[in-house]
Symmetry: C2
Subunit: 296 residues, 2 copies
């Protein structure tokens, strides 16, 4: 058997096109486009690339992008004041602080300063709590993107056994909450789990988010399982010395057993940015009582 | 084999005694006792009993108890104004709104109006979120009490397989978060779970919180499992027509297989009130920078 490859690029492109259509409707109704403010402190090369691609996607969706690039030695107080200004700015519907922040800045303090109703990254503890108790809020973009891929692949997830490997605040934990809300039986596994292969073998759905290259092997999987690979790990290629990107799942062996699997790259990654744009539109819509399609 | 019976009454009494000792220290240092405000709207008989026993436990711990009993036709606005006053009152460290509220009052609106730093019930979404992301906050009293019983019984829980049956906001979900923070591999099962007995059979720790009398049977259990029964269900006795209380676990069959099991009554129930008192003391201590033993 060969697994279907879950095309995150195509699903994300379709989602972004739908969003762009809604943005036109929103702009016609309210005379402005939704706006996303992205704050980058310092010049970490990876962060710079991420910020650039987020800005590009924002503009392509017809939204406004506000980029704030601050020097690495920016003080915490100055950054908090910028957050306050963005919180108060009616043109800004979403605020994203690119992580990691320099060490002299308390990231928790900055992230909890963001107005939870503009927290399109879903990292504010109030949004984590809203997700947990089932209130409207913002869900972190990566797990939201994974859920959209799973729904597109499997439809109704109710009653399926889901295993989430990894318990980070930005992927594993919110992913578990989302799957629970879909009425999956959810298991959260992590580095302390005994006999992880046995745990994974019971799963109809596996979401791997541990940051360990090719850790999940094909013989860990239940035949026909749906596998979502969140990992993005750069490893050295043996032949030419150039790095290549691999996920947390050993694609070669897993794709022989799984029913469907998301590749790395081209799986979860494109969905994350599409969901950021989606959350920004949702924020604008909520602030104006503008209604959006429920499945957006 | 016969399971050890986990004595919640004794564990709760010991906890309450420790709390009372800390309250004396707190009062000596700050010239006042920690205070808990309990608000009851209407005269539901069960709620009246709960409020009375909470007030009694508060006083027995040497704390101040402020009871606010309002008529059933109290308006939402009036109740919100009371919450605002309690939020502002420096003598009040904890605020508890007894549920259920009458139908004409939006309970979510009232619960989210409570200052999260006085929310000793841990029901505010910000506290649910703090628990999820690992920040200090308040954890709902019933799951916190269950965790204390589990720690007393098993010590370090790291790496154990835990199954939580039930996904309510006040028990199942926070219980799962707590067990995850203890580094258990956590599975959340519920009414949509396929083959619940098979799921439970893999568990070293079972927490049952579904509200179905004697649902979990002994032959579902792994030998030597630790079973915490959160259910409190009144069933008709066959002989004398009087009701009796049973848990969600079939005690008779379970106690033959389990290593340890909490009874109903006398298991989780007493721990819930002890944890409410504990949370109130913790709130007072945080507000004054007063340090408490870490394991309290």
């Amino acid at each position: 058997m060969t697994a279907r490859v879950i095309d995150g690029k195509a699903t994300a492109a379709a989602l972004r096109e739908r969003i762009a259509g809604e943005v036109v409707r929103f702009r016609d109704a309210h005379g402005r486009a939704p706006g996303l403010a992205v704050v980058l402190v310092g010049d970490d090369p990876a962060s710079t690339v991420y910020v650039r691609s987020k800005g590009k996607a924002t503009l392509e969706a017809g939204m406004e992008s506000f980029e704030h690039k601050l020097p690495a030695d920016t003080g915490e107080k100055e950054l908090l004041e910028l957050v306050d200004r963005l919180n108060d700015d009616p043109a800004v519907d979403g605020i994203l602080i690119q992580l990691p922040l320099p060490r002299h800045i308390d990231a928790d303090k900055v992230l909890t300063r963001i107005d939870p109703d503009k927290d399109v990254d879903g990292f504010h503890p109030l949004n984590a709590g809203r997700l947990a108790v089932g209130l409207d809020g913002f869900v972190a973009c990566t797990p939201l993107g994974c859920l959209k891929l799973l729904r597109a692949e499997r439809g109704d997830l109710s009653g399926l056994n889901a295993v989430v490997i990894g318990r980070s605040n930005i992927v594993g934990k919110p992913m578990a909450q989302l799957l629970l809300a879909e009425s999956c039986t959810v298991t959260i596994a992590h580095s302390r789990t005994h006999d992880l292969p046995a745990v994974v073998r019971g799963a109809d759905i596996v979401v791997a988010a541990v940051g360990r290259p090719e850790m999940v092997k094909g013989d860990w999987l239940k035949p026909d399982a749906t596998v979502i690979d969140v990992g993005i790990n750069r490893i050295e290629a043996e032949e030419d010395g150039k790095g290549r990107l691999v996920g947390d799942v050993d694609f070669a062996s897993a794709s022989v057993v799984a029913g469907a699997i998301s590749p790395v790259p081209g799986g979860v990654g494109p969905m994350t940015i599409a969901c950021l744009i989606r959350n920004t539109l949702v924020s604008a819509a909520r602030r104006h009582g503008f209604s959006l399609p429920e499945d957006l």
